[in-house]
């Protein structure tokens, strides 16, 4: 066994970031450079003479360094490792979990000489003229002697692909089209894709009858993704055929423009497969379930996502697991199993996660059995709801990992073991419940500035989004219709009846009198900007200080000046508002509509605390 650095060892590692520990890794020997302790672990640069990657020795190996086995400038054979991305920089990070010592410190940092290949290499020629040492880098004497390795094209390809199956070959015998080239106008294609997500079979009922449907997410070699849906017979035919992580050749599907509301992957098109479509498993491809990529949101930052469309990933320590409950679905009277788990994270907040169907019965049961060990769970693709303030709900595409072997899980585990399990944890819902009847306290959930709302016109595209704002009323136009005639019983709009009195469509009867209820548009401003909002009766009454009927009296009997004065008195008054933002289409134009749902007076003590907090945040981020 040559005691030398494996050429292109770093490339091999980069090409295979997550090797199975059972598979045979090619020999990876690297030189340890810049070895330095950080805390109780050791960091170094792993070098193959050509490339370097930042690396860390797992704490179990730290003793090898302190005992002198692993030395700086020494060689180690990497036996087991993981390659992670550093999210903030565009760099990779190697964690070596198992290694052998190949050699003690070399005299200097090894630099690979230029490979001898068939082509002419002028650099090498120059160096050969300068020195007559065998290695390409002058003035570095290396012990032990490094050998020049010539490589054939096949060798280089093999090293670069590590142990991945030779993908290129099959593509040449079958005309496989890249996913990105598919379009609805060309039907003659075959694609080779891996199933990266498989949904559950769902049943539905519509005007045409009943049916069943499921969809899969397909990814091809280039990384392009597309969603494929199958209905009824095709669904039954292919449901068992498609397995997560396996590769298939698919042809004779149809493409259409993707429906944005249901879009889960980035593709303008989506595919439908029917009974004539062909799906064939690519038998020589290894099943590769891509590592689930998470982007965790800390529990105390879930607020802004409530009722939004964006899905979140969370990681936390399980505090409790409920027994299975049966919920009856209203639409088709189906009963579904459900289980609620409570998780906590370093923000010292807890949140309830609702698991449904398979997740409730399988993973849910697993968690219940191990609940006393407080396992760490990482969950991907959760919907954020507003039950009890903030709640999380799993979808069919949610993925749950129990005690995953990731740095975040380890960090959470050590936090929990050292302080988490003893500290008192507060439920995230508690002091930020959007139940708007209680004014001040709830006005701090999802606090945003007006410009946050007005600058993002896609807010509330399918479902209205809720925010809290603090703003001043800046303008109330006196000549708008402030109110509408409303039925005294049901508050719906009434129309003038033929004889006398008013007709209420809701109550289906004539009323003698009616009351006026506010419906007005006003302009509000805060430090960031201004916006128009609609206000309804209860809130407007609080802001103007009198009922719509009273205001109307003033307008009719007390004169224009008094009327305008009444409105002026309501301007430049600050309020805390709870608003809903929705998108409406008006004359083919999309408009943002902000409606006030609740209004509360400013609680100066609470507001001061909020401002101090915001100031601290700005200071810290600077």
């Amino acid at each position: 066994m040559a005691k030398t650095v494996t050429p292109d060892a770093i490339s091999v590692i980069l090409a295979n970031p997550c090797p199975d520990s059972s598979s045979d890794l090619p020999e990876i020997i690297v030189q340890v450079v810049d070895l330095k302790p950080t805390g109780n672990k050791y960091m170094f640069m792993a070098s193959d003479g050509k490339m370097k990657v930042r690396a860390l020795l797992q704490s179990t190996l730290a003793s090898e360094v302190t005992s002198g086995n692993i030395q700086n400038l020494g060689l180690i054979r990497v036996l087991d490792y993981t390659l992670n991305d550093i999210p903030t920089k565009n760099e990779k990070f190697l964690i070596v979990s198992k290694c052998d010592v190949v050699s003690s410190a070399l005299e200097a940092e090894y630099k690979a000489e230029v490979k001898v290949e068939d082509g002419v290499n002028s650099l090498k020629q120059n160096q050969e003229m300068d020195a007559d040492v065998k290695t390409g880098s002058p003035a570095i004497v290396l012990k032990p002697k490094q050998e020049v390795v010539t490589k054939s094209a096949a060798q280089i390809v093999h090293d670069q692909h590590g142990n991945a199956a030779p993908a290129a070959r099959m593509a040449m015998t079958r005309r496989v089209h890249p996913l990105v080239s598919l379009n609805p106008y060309q039907g003659n294609w075959t694609i080779k894709v891996r199933v990266t997500s498989k949904g559950n079979m769902r049943t539905y009922r519509n005007a045409r009858g009943e049916g069943c449907v499921f969809n899969v997410e397909l990814t091809d070699e280039d990384g392009t993704q597309i969603q494929a849906t199958m209905f009824n017979d095709a669904a039954k035919k292919f449901f068992d055929k498609f397995q997560m992580g396996k590769v298939y050749y698919i042809s004779k599907g149809t493409l259409k423009v993707a429906n944005k509301q249901f879009k889960t992957v980035q593709n303008d098109y989506e595919m439908t497969l029917n009974e004539n479509s062909e799906v064939e498993e690519a038998s020589n491809e290894a099943t590769f379930i891509p590592e689930t990529k998470f982007s965790f949101t800390p529990i105390d930052e879930l607020g802004p996502f409530v009722n939004g469309r964006e899905l979140v990933d969370v990681i936390g320590v399980v505090q409790s697991v409920s027994p299975t409950m049966s919920i009856r679905r209203k639409s088709n009277n189906e009963t579904i199993p459900k289980r609620d788990i409570v998780i906590a994270d370093e923000t010292k907040k807890t949140v309830v996660v609702s698991l449904w169907n398979d997740l409730a019965t399988s993973v849910g049961q697993e968690l219940l059995d191990m609940a006393d060990k407080s396992p760490v769970v990482a969950i991907k693709s959760l919907k954020v709801g507003e039950f009890q303030g903030v709640s999380l709900s799993a979808l069919s595409k949610s993925i749950i990992l129990v005690d995953p072997d990731t740095p975040e899980a380890k960090k959470l585990r050590s936090w929990y073991d050292s302080e988490g399990k003893d500290t008192s944890l507060a439920a995230i819902g508690n002091d930020s419940s959007p139940s708007n009847r209680n004014g001040a306290r709830s006005m701090y959930t999802d606090r945003v500035t007006l410009s946050h709302i007005t600058s993002n016109l896609s807010l509330g595209e399918d479902k209205p989004v809720y925010f809290s704002i603090k703003a001043y009323v800046s303008t109330i136009k006196p000549d708008q219709a402030m109110s509408y005639r409303a039925c005294k019983t049901c508050s719906k709009k009434v129309t003038e009846a033929v004889g006398s009195g008013y007709w209420c469509e809701g109550c289906q009867k004539n009323e003698d009198g009616c009351s006026l209820r506010y419906i007005m548009a006003l302009k509000v401003s805060d430090a960031s900007g201004e916006a128009f909002v609609s206000v309804f009766n209860e809130q407007a009454e609080k802001m103007i200080g009198c009922t719509a009927d009273e205001l109307n009296e003033i307008k009719l009997h007390d004169g224009e000046a008094t009327y305008q004065k009444k409105l002026k008195e309501a301007t430049w008054v600050p309020h805390l508002f709870r608003v809903s933002v929705a998108q409406n289409e008006y004359n083919n134009e999309k408009r943002q509509r902000i409606t006030v749902r609740a209004v509360a007076p400013i609680d100066y003590a609470a507001e001061s605390k909020y401002l101090i907090e915001e100031m601290t945040k700005i200071k810290v981020s600077n």
Partner: protein
């Protein structure tokens, strides 16, 4: 507006930096002796405020005057601040106004 003699926001700790100068502070009234009051500053220390307190006097009062020692203020202006007051926020204001944001105040 007369900006010739600004009063610095102080609590007990900051008062000593302004001895002889004009200060303002919110005090929680502990004892009222007629000629002076004994009060608690927003950082929980006892201060003596000399002068003529208003009648009636609420629990919290803002005094503006000259600091004549590091534990007392000769008050010229008294303003009743009511019975409910968020002491910790005011204390933070004193610290910020004399620290990071001093340039915005004096």
């Amino acid at each position: 507006m007369d900006t010739s003699n600004p009063a610095a926001f102080v609590n007990a700790e900051l008062l000593r930096m302004y001895v002889g100068r004009r200060v303002r502070a919110v005090i929680q009234v502990l004892r009222n002796d007629g000629g002076s009051i004994f009060g608690k500053s927003t950082d929980e220390q006892e201060l003596v405020i000399k002068g003529q307190p208003p009648n009636p006097l609420t629990t919290f009062v803002e005094v503006i005057g000259i600091a004549d020692s590091n534990r007392s203020i000769q008050a010229e202006i008294w303003t009743n601040f009511g019975d409910n007051f968020d002491v910790s926020s005011y204390n933070t204001v004193c610290q910020l106004a004399n620290g990071d944001f001093k340039h915005l105040f004096i």
